[in-house]
């Protein structure tokens, strides 16, 4: 088991993203650092469009995550519905 992670800029939009991520990844760990929020999980993490739309109350395109993204670790798979990070181990 290894950690996948995603780091977001600490801003208003990211707060919604974090809320959605937390809901879909209950075991994920949220770390607040200067100007950034780092979210870690064991082997797998998902950001779901539907969940983000629900907390934001508007349409949200998965590619919009790039506006607030700082970095990530893990194998990335992105489609219309979600972005996933995975380690195959």
């Amino acid at each position: 088991m290894s950690k996948v992670y995603i780091a977001l800029q600490d801003n208003d939009e990211s707060r919604y993203l974090v809320e959605a991520i937390q809901a879909d990844n209950p075991t994920a760990e949220i770390l607040y650092m200067p100007a950034m929020i780092r979210i870690e999980a064991q082997n797998f993490l998902v950001v779901k469009r539907a969940s983000v739309e629900e907390v934001m109350g508007r349409d949200w395109d998965v590619q919009e995550i790039h506006l607030n993204l700082i970095t990530l670790g893990g194998n990335v798979d992105e489609d219309d519905e979600q972005l996933t990070l995975t380690w195959n181990q």
């Binding site: 650092m33 590619q63 700082i70 970095t71």
Partner: protein, 500 residues
């Protein structure tokens, strides 16, 4: 007829992947001539998995939004004289290293990815490289713009481009990227796309930029994080390249492993300068170099290599040595710059007592034993008005071009020296890693433009060091170099802040 909705993968594939064709009128190999000489075997480019599926219209839209936000902050920063909000004027010296040493690498990355973005005969990989090329141009330009305001109020940033091509310590980053660009297109991708982007740039852009935020530098943290959001795409490309090469042919595995060994070693040597920036040049500390290394290299890199093990790829050679070095390199590097501070384009200083205590706490196994005594000695000499500068020019490692400052890890009081004989000439190295790299491709490395050799050969003017600094490097001697104490930077800061 109702159109079926296309998902993003199918849409991207249809819009992009079939643009290419088999030639009928020319030899296609002549249009893509550099794909074979490295020995890499590609059996089917169509197996390429697109890491992200950004079409150009989406790219323009999202990138324009990022740029609007970024430039709004640059404007506000300049209009409000944001430089007054930084924690301490010493901090700006890290930015001087950044602009003279790192930003030109972004430019070389643009050039390198433009090269692969033209040369790969598979359209998927090619387009991914092109998008990285334009992102890299973005990075160098936003960095120039972010530093533009600092340049108006601090010394040492003004001739960054001229300096990058000439100054002794800047040949370290420059030669690193020259090396990658001079290699074949696949080695370039493993060097920069994978080794550098995937693991090593995080160390520069994430903890260091977080440090910029912690030191009140809005302009830098904003470009740093905004750039890093592109980097997430680049990292994914880097990982995709490796997986693709390894899946294409088993003969690729030993070649890729050799490149990984080379470029992780070269990369860790390059990051010595970032280690020093984090431990010594950020007045407000976020985390130590050692801690950053553990999070971003050992943990993240470890997970990565576990993932790659199924292809038969192992951890880079000397990973165990690298692990020991995290306790030492920042201290060894800052001491070297402190003692050569008359010849550097930025200011150096003795850490404050509070900072020395922080270093003792963060480096319990090494700092008090090996490094603190040096600073105590430097403090005593400075108190007597005898600020110490080494007059001799340092000997450089032929491969990484860093002065011989690294020690043996089993004896941190003993400087490490290695050497190789090639065609009757003796070449010197800082480590087994750098010697291995040379021995593998001596014909390449004997052409290195080693700044100290060039000075001795009279290629950089002179005869005095000060003549070289002034005439060849175009430094403003007495303003750009020497100690922070007594510098014009310090004097102006005190004036702005109304302190004596």
């Amino acid at each position: 007829m109702a159109a079926k909705k296309l998902n993003i993968k199918d849409k991207y594939r249809l819009l992009t992947r079939d643009l290419d064709w088999e030639f009928s009128y020319q030899d296609r190999k002549q249009a893509f001539p550099f794909e074979e000489f490295e020995g890499i075997k590609i059996t089917d480019w169509s197996q390429w998995e697109d890491p992200f599926r950004l079409t150009m219209d989406a790219y323009w839209k999202y990138q324009a939004e990022k740029e609007r936000k970024l430039y709004a902050i640059f404007d506000a920063f300049a209009q409000n004289n944001g430089q007054l909000n930084i924690s301490d004027p010493r901090y700006v010296n890290a930015l001087k290293i950044f602009l003279t040493g790192v930003s030109p690498l972004e430019y070389q990355a643009f050039q390198g990815f433009a090269h692969t973005g033209r040369q790969f005969s598979g359209v998927g990989a090619r387009v991914a490289c092109q998008m990285q090329a334009i992102d890299e141009l973005r990075h160098v330009q936003t960095q120039i713009h972010a530093m533009s305001h600092y340049n108006k109020f601090f010394d040492g940033l003004q001739d960054w481009s001229h300096m990058h091509d000439r100054v002794w310590y800047l040949s370290v980053p420059k030669s690193f990227f020259n090396d990658a660009r001079a290699a074949g297109p696949f080695e370039f991708m493993v060097a920069i796309g994978f080794s550098f982007e995937y693991v090593l740039t995080n160390l520069l852009f994430v903890p260091f930029m977080s440090g910029a935020a912690y030191n009140g530098d809005m302009a830098t943290v904003t470009f740093g994080f905004s750039a890093q959001s592109d980097e997430a795409r680049h990292m994914t490309l880097g990982l995709e390249v490796i997986k693709f090469l390894l899946e294409q042919h088993e003969d690729n595995i030993p070649i890729v492993q050799k490149w990984i060994d080379k470029w992780f070693w070269r990369g860790t040597r390059l990051l010595t300068i970032v280690a020093m920036m984090m431990d010594y040049m950020l007045p407000n500390k976020v985390m130590s170099w050692k801690e950053a290394w553990e999070v971003y290299f050992e943990e993240a890199g470890g997970a990565l290599f576990k993932d790659l093990a199924r292809y038969g790829i192992r951890m880079p050679k000397y990973a165990d040595l690298i692990e020991q070095e995290k306790e030492h390199i920042s201290h060894q590097a800052w001491w070297t710059f402190y003692t050569h501070g008359h010849a550097a384009g930025f200011h150096t200083w003795i850490p404050t007592d509070e900072e020395l205590d922080w270093l003792s706490e963060k480096y319990p196994h090494t700092f008090d034993q090996y490094y603190r005594p040096r600073w105590e000695l430097a403090k005593a000499m400075e108190a007597k008005g005898e600020r110490f500068y080494t007059k001799a020019l340092p000997q450089l490692c032929t491969t990484c071009q860093i002065p011989m400052l690294f020690t043996e890890m089993d004896d941190p009081t003993q400087i490490a020296y290695r050497e190789s004989l090639y065609q009757g000439e003796r070449y010197h190295f800082c480590s087994d890693g750098c010697k291995d790299i040379f021995d593998e491709e001596p014909e390449k490395y004997i052409h290195s433009w080693l700044p100290v050799h060039q000075i001795f050969q009279g290629q950089c003017g002179g005869p005095e060091v000060e003549d070289i600094l002034r005439d060849y490097y175009r430094m403003n001697v007495g303003a750009d170099n020497l100690d922070m104490k007594g510098s014009p930077d310090e004097a102006r800061w005190k004036l702005w802040k109304g302190v004596a």
